[in-house]
């Protein structure tokens, strides 16, 4: 098991199978023939694709048209190949490179073990840390509303906290609402702006405090509940961890594979003429 998960070996096995198949197919296709056979199997496949589009089988007439189209494809394809249009270094290089990358991607596409996921999450706690969540009420005073200078806000805070003033009787309405329960920090920031999210993060639980500024104005806030950010166990973030593990692995595996293959070669890069370098620099600067 351990051996099979070794990337290079995995790569070589898949590569051998794929390239073997390609070789076989290429050899079969190589001599252009003047005979085009549309096999019963191919017709069945054409019909099946139609059915998948329309959720019903094609009529005889529709099937005829589809087969005609298939023949047209084949004729033009073979003529193009016969004209040697498939022979070009750039193309072949590109094709083979893409195949190699495809194979490399396949080698990276393996399921992580529990231990690997656990280690991965432990390695990147910041990727999977849950956000802080808040429950709070807010009283809103619009920007430019000169009727509430700072000292009157602190008086109001005092009155709110002693119960002399009811929260629902002061401030202005704001479309987003006054009462928020169990809202994540990023949602708070999306709703009120980053400054506000920073602001309520610092407030003590219970009791009215502030003022806190937002994108809309000034607020008095009563934080009624708070769940701190935490690093959840792997079980709670399994899907995300798997996705990120695969994504990370793909990048690392492809690069590692390339480096190993590259190490099989002696690479010599000749100096470029001075003028050429200048030109290339100018291009890059654009």
């Amino acid at each position: 098991m351990k051996l099979l998960r070794e990337p290079l070996l995995h790569f070589l096995i898949i590569g051998a199978v794929l390239f073997g198949v390609y070789q076989f197919v290429d050899a079969g296709d190589a001599p252009p023939s003047d005979e085009i056979v549309v096999s019963a199997g191919q017709i069945g496949s054409i019909a099946a694709i139609f059915s998948q589009t329309w959720q019903r089988p094609p009529t005889a007439k529709e099937l005829d048209a589809l087969v005609d189209e298939h023949i047209r494809d084949e004729v033009l394809y073979r003529q193009g190949v016969a004209m040697g249009l498939d022979k070009d270094d750039t193309v072949i290089r590109r094709r083979i490179r893409q195949k190699m990358e495809f194979v490399a991607d396949m080698t990276a596409d393996v399921e992580p073990t529990d231990a690997e996921l656990k280690a991965f999450v432990a390695e990147h706690p910041e990727w999977f840390r849950s956000e802080a969540r808040f429950s709070f009420e807010q009283i809103y005073f619009p920007t430019g509303g000169s009727d509430r200078p700072t000292e009157s806000l602190s008086r109001l805070l005092h009155d709110l906290n002693t119960g002399a003033v009811d929260a629902s009787s002061v401030g202005n309405p704001l479309m987003v609402g006054t009462d928020f329960r169990d809202v994540s920090r990023s949602e708070v920031a999306k709703t009120f702006g980053e400054d506000f999210a920073l602001g309520i993060d610092k407030l003590a639980l219970d009791g009215w405090s502030g003022p806190v500024t937002s994108a809309y104005g000034t607020h008095l806030v009563r934080v009624t509940g708070r769940v701190d950010a935490r690093e959840p166990p792997v079980e709670e973030v399994r899907e995300a961890a798997r996705r990120e593990w695969l994504h990370t692995r793909k990048g690392v595996a492809n690069e590692a594979l390339y480096q190993r293959l590259r190490s099989l070669y002696v690479v010599k890069v000749e100096a470029i003429l001075a003028g050429g370098v200048e030109e290339r620099r100018a291009e890059v600067a654009q």
Binding site: Q55, R72, L85, P173, G177, Y216, Q286
Partner: protein
């Protein structure tokens, strides 16, 4: 946002529930009792034909104003209390034209970017969104889907074709040659002369694997409650010479169902350029799987009069029929009214007295500029007029084919949903930020051309939904409780009813009165109580990162007693205590934009606007449609940011600031 309370109220959802129908309460039966969010029939005559205009479960005991709730106004509610932001129309490298322009970013990169991750754009620059989006539909072109990945892989069937080979070589050279190849490809495709050998159609292995990959990527990045990845595609019907009839198709369900079908294409015999055939295909899918799918049309501005026909269906040559109207409205509940290729709300030729019509227009010709625009085409291209035409057709056919809600989306071909003015990554990878992107010719066909600076940094879709899941968002799209913006994420509420009062606009949350006494955007009013005119409760809150608000307008369209289309734009509420002049016109809000530094200040305008408005010209015998348009104060356009960041001078005549805006889905009034 108020997740805890909503879940409570869902658990309490009764078997028999009550919904507002604009003038009272009716008992209706839930259709899908097994769903957490019970789907209800909206009890209005027009919507009763359809099973999908659900507005969610409400308990009248707590919603009716006569029985005020306890201290927390959110307890016991489950109407949509927050907006989810997203893009229903994004292309990746799997779209042939995107690949041609140099896009190398695939599905995974597109999702990761929308979720807020920083990455490297195809052009090599680092890029990140100011804030993550809540949902994304990757909608690559179904025709030739996967063409470019296959082309780059050097597939023999691609390169055996001489044209394919030439394009391949051009694309490999990159730069201007790559752009040339892309334009040739698009032009051939529009004319129906795309080399058959290059068509990447259903039946080929490449096609199948691309669709499978798209579905797999959506499954991988769809995280209910956090981020929604819709499965979808774009059906790219361009009737020769190039009249745009494109539709985006969005699936409600997941891989299991979507895999049972293949995207509908436009090349016969398996595909078709006629929308009726797309609708048949969608019906076949729903019939087979029992699941749900919808289509969103866009870019009527590039259809040269084909998007919203008034009498004859140009696709078939037949007069518009009741069946056409029923089928279209069944499958196409929404119109994408604003995007990178132009804003399609209103045109000055059609709305000469609207000083804000004419925003970011693309009105030179059809999609490939192969045919110039003629003025008489415009009435079948712009949303405002189409809404009125829909009323006329409803009177004639009994069904309104153009009863659509409005959203914005990007139609970006860069895999990047980056359409904010100060973070605009262009229509395609060749238009990613560079000193000269604004002054390059964007497209030319003979004498007709568009310049790079004409690209529009727009738009997004705002969706009022109860939760961030495929089901909740899709249902909101279907019931049209959505709106479009040209980029800013402003909150907009729009309710219609018969009894809204000024006090409702002063309340702490207009939504309670809105849902309690009326219908939200996308809804219907009928059976006007004697002597009453419809009242509307409209509210907007600025984007926390955006410009202040200038004004909210309500746009009314109606059909007069003689059967003619009519429209009027009302200024409903505005900032800075301005007083309309003797001509009734509201003075402009002003302009704080400093073009030289690409900055502005929120010293004018308002952060929030709210108002109850009564139609002063209501005639209960006439059909009418109302929607709200919210205008921001002027802010710098992307061209101003380009000028400052690259130190270049824009040519005279290039707009350097603009008033960004939101368009709500309409509310319709139908005489009983």
């Amino acid at each position: 946002m108020h997740i805890t309370q909503r879940e409570e109220s869902m658990r309490r959802a009764p078997d028999q529930s009550t919904v507002a129908n604009g003038h009272g309460w009716q008992r209706v039966r839930p259709l899908r009792g097994t769903l957490a969010i019970t789907c209800l029939l909206l009890a209005s005559p027009a919507a009763a034909q359809s099973t999908i205009t659900d507005i969610g479960t409400m308990d009248p005991a707590t919603v009716l104003p006569s029985k005020p709730p306890g201290y927390s106004p959110y307890a016991g509610r489950n109407f949509p209390s927050r907006v989810f932001w997203g893009d229903t129309h994004l292309h990746t490298s799997a779209s042939m034209d995107a690949g041609a322009f140099g896009n190398r970013l695939g599905f995974e990169e597109a999702y990761r970017f929308a979720r807020g991750e920083e990455l490297t754009a195809s052009g090599g620059q680092r890029v990140k969104l100011s804030r993550p989006l809540d949902f994304l539909a990757i909608t690559d072109h179904s025709d030739n889907m996967g063409f470019f990945p296959a082309l780059f892989a050097g597939k023999p069937e691609m390169l055996a074709d001489p044209t394919g080979r030439r394009w391949y070589d051009l694309v490999q050279k990159g730069g201007e040659d790559g752009v040339k190849a892309a334009l040739e490809i698009i032009d051939n495709f529009s004319r129906g002369t795309f080399p058959p050998a290059l068509q990447f159609l259903p039946g080929s292995d490449g096609y199948r694997s691309t669709w499978d990959q798209m579905i797999a990527a959506a499954e991988k990045y769809n995280e209910p409650g956090h981020f929604t990845a819709f499965i979808g595609y774009e059906w790219t019907s361009q009737v020769p010479p190039g009249n745009n009839l494109h539709r985006v198709v969005i699936y409600r369900d997941g891989a299991e169902q979507a895999k049972q079908t293949l995207p509908f294409t436009t090349y016969p015999p398996a595909g078709s350029t006629t929308p009726e055939d797309l609708w048949k295909h969608l019906a076949a899918y729903e019939g087979k799987t029992g699941e749900r799918v919808l289509a969103i049309s866009h870019n009527g501005n590039l259809s040269n009069g084909w998007m919203f026909p008034t009498e004859t269906n140009p696709a078939t040559g037949q007069p518009l029929s009741k069946e056409y109207a029923e089928t279209r409205t069944r499958w196409e509940p929404l119109y994408e009214v604003t995007q990178v290729k132009g804003d399609g709300e209103a045109h000055p030729y059609l709305s000469p007295t609207d000083e804000f019509a004419g925003y970011e227009l693309w009105d030179k010709g059809n999609l490939n500029l192969s045919e110039a625009k003629k003025p008489e085409m415009l009435q079948s291209e712009y949303a405002r007029t189409a809404l009125q035409t829909g009323l006329q057709l409803e009177a004639k056919l009994g069904v309104n084919p153009y009863k659509f809600g409005m959203i914005g989306s990007t139609d970006s071909h860069t895999s990047l949903t980056a359409v904010e003015e100060e973070n605009f990554f262009g229509k395609h990878s060749g238009a990613e930020p560079s000193p000269h992107r604004a002054t390059h010719e964007f497209m030319r066909n003979g004498d007709l051309f568009l310049m790079g600076w004409q690209q529009v940094a727009s738009g997004y879709a705002g969706v009022w939904a109860t939760d961030n899941t495929r089901e909740a968002l899709w249902d909101a799209l279907r019931r049209k409780e959505v709106y479009g913006t040209t980029g800013p994420r402003m909150l907009v509420r729009f309710f219609g009813g018969w009894d809204f009062t000024d006090a409702d606009a002063q309340s702490r949350s207009p939504a309670f009165a809105g849902y309690g006494k009326g219908v939200p955007m996308g809804g219907d009013l009928s059976a006007a109580p004697a002597g009453k005119s419809p009242t509307f409760l409209v509210a907007a809150l600025k984007d926390p990162l955006g410009g202040n608000l200038d004004r909210i307008q309500i746009v009314k369209g109606w059909v007069d007693a003689a059967g003619a289309r009519q429209e009027k734009v009302y200024d409903v509420v505005w900032s800075d205590k301005r007083v309309p002049g003797t001509d009734g016109k509201l003075p402009a809000v002003g302009n704080t934009v400093d073009v030289a530094t690409a900055t502005w200040t929120n010293t004018i305008g308002a952060s929030e606007l709210i108002k109850t408005w009564t139609d002063p010209d209501f005639d209960p015998a006439l059909r009418a449609v109302y929607y709200a348009r919210v205008l921001e104060i002027p802010t710098p356009r992307w061209t101003a940011y380009d000028a400052v960041r690259f130190g270049v001078k824009m040519p005279d005549g290039v707009p350097m600031f603009g008033q960004e805006r939101a368009y709500t889905s309409p509310i319709w009034y139908t005489p009983s």
